[in-house]
Amino acid sequence: MAEGKKSGLSKGLLIAGGVVLLLAYMYISTKNGLVRLDENINSAWSEIDNQLQRRSDLIPNLVATVKGYAKHEEAVFTNIANARSKLAGAQTVEEKAAGYNEMQSALSRLLVVVEQYPELKANQSFIGLQDELAGTENRLTVARKRYNDGVRDFNTRIRSFPASLIAGGMGFSPRPYFEIDQGARETPKVSF
């Protein structure tokens, strides 16, 4: 009698222990999966940040070169300066995306101006700067795609079962996409 009760008890303990272990395993693997996705987003984000910074560093040179040929286009230069300082002060993803969009339209206007100065278009250092700028734009497009893909994976995961049960408790919340304006989808280009 006593023996049967004991073995029943230990069987129960064993099952309970198994369930606890299984739950712990699921918790840990879910958490690790989320951490990994989260880190993907962070590293993709830092690439966007790098390229935004790189572009901001290129702009003073570009503006200086254009000014040498097109002195009277003050409005365009002011727009770029404003966009650049706005972008420099941006902290969140949304702010940076807004700054990015503003800079994009300011740059498009600059490149429209450039079209009117054939000598400027033939200037070697301008062509080089334009290539660096276009390369940075292209890297930004790639980085933005990687970031948004990462956000999609992450957001899908934390909203679906079973991660949705515990994601909130772990402090994971949906990450924002890096959204761009329709008009800004076209990379501003000077046609050579």
Binding site: D131, N138, R152, Y177, R185
Partner: protein, 286 residues
């Protein structure tokens, strides 16, 4: 590309977000449908415009460069990059799908020509962005590729482009340009003009970094060492965490640099090493 389209009515939150998620899921499943050809070698003429002798010359140069530097140069001619939106998108997809360049060095180069759209692009792998900056890629196209293309001498233009790219690699790795058979225009000046003597402030900055690193080392290793070591000595073996410290490997974890030989052909699926590009390079119309 799969840019999320910013709505014309900003700020109606969740609905738009889920619409976006939906859009992404749709785009995500459509995108890989970009139908990429399989690599046939370093030189891939899918439009059938190259003379066999030109092709042979390019193959030989690419092979030499790979043997001597590990870098992989691919030349691709296609009819059209459609349905990709632009040559940049097509070049990036092709580059990363073929894996041009070695896996851990990302030292690949892609020279790609789309006949229908009359676009040409040099795509540079991550690891060569320092040797071939975008401005140099653009200059190579302007000076050596486009002029020949305008005379419909496509093989000449591609070969000359490759030769200048090889010249840039030769300069970086101090290769013999005569043995590579490079013409005079592909032999670049021995030092890029941008590099100047480090100024006083740059030196100062360098020393600042060194001092900071030493400081970090001090705080990360030496200070904790005393914090753990001193109680260990004072209180003897009762200190429970002392043994932990001696067990753990302090400086041991050395990042091992993969020292595989360049010429050995551990080449993967498409024949290339698995290198990646982040979108560096330059494009031109002609």
């Amino acid at each position: 590309m799969t840019a999320p389209v910013g709505g014309d009515r900003p700020g109606f939150g969740k609905k738009r977000l889920s619409a976006l998620v939906g859009l992404f899921l749709v785009l995500g499943s459509i995108l890989p449908a970009l139908d990429l050809p399989r690599a046939e070698g370093f030189v891939n003429d899918f439009a059938g415009i190259l003379h066999p002798m030109e092709k042979e010359k390019m193959e030989k140069l690419a092979r030499l460069i790979q043997e001597q530097t590990g870098a992989e140069m691919a030349v691709v001619v296609i009819d059209s990059f459609a349905p990709a939106a632009d040559i940049e998108e097509y070049a990036l997809e092709l580059f990363n799908s073929w894996g041009i360049g070695q896996k851990d060095r990302d030292n690949g180069l892609l020279l790609i020509l789309a006949m229908t759209e009359r676009r040409v692009r040099i795509e540079v792998g991550y690891g060569l962005e320092g040797i071939i900056p975008d401005a140099l890629a653009g200059r190579i196209l302007d000076q050596r590729v486009i002029p020949a293309f305008r005379e419909e001498r496509y093989g000449t233009g591609l070969l000359q482009g490759m030769q200048v790219l090889a010249g840039a690699l030769a300069r970086e790795y101090s290769l013999d340009t005569i043995k590579l058979g490079l013409p005079h225009f592909a032999v670049l000046e021995s030092k890029p003009p941008i590099e100047e003597e480090p100024s006083f402030f740059e030196n100062l900055a360098l020393w600042g970094v060194v001092i900071l690193m030493l400081g970090a080392l001090f705080w990360a290793y030496i200070v904790p060492f005393f914090f753990i070591f001193i109680p260990f000595v004072l209180f003897g073996k009762k200190s429970s965490f002392g043994t932990d410290f001696y067990g753990g490997g302090g400086f041991g974890s050395s990042g091992s640099y993969s020292s595989r030989s360049y010429s050995s052909g551990s080449r993967s699926s498409g024949g290339f090493g698995g290198g990646r590009s982040g979108g560096g390079g330059a494009s031109r119309s002609f």
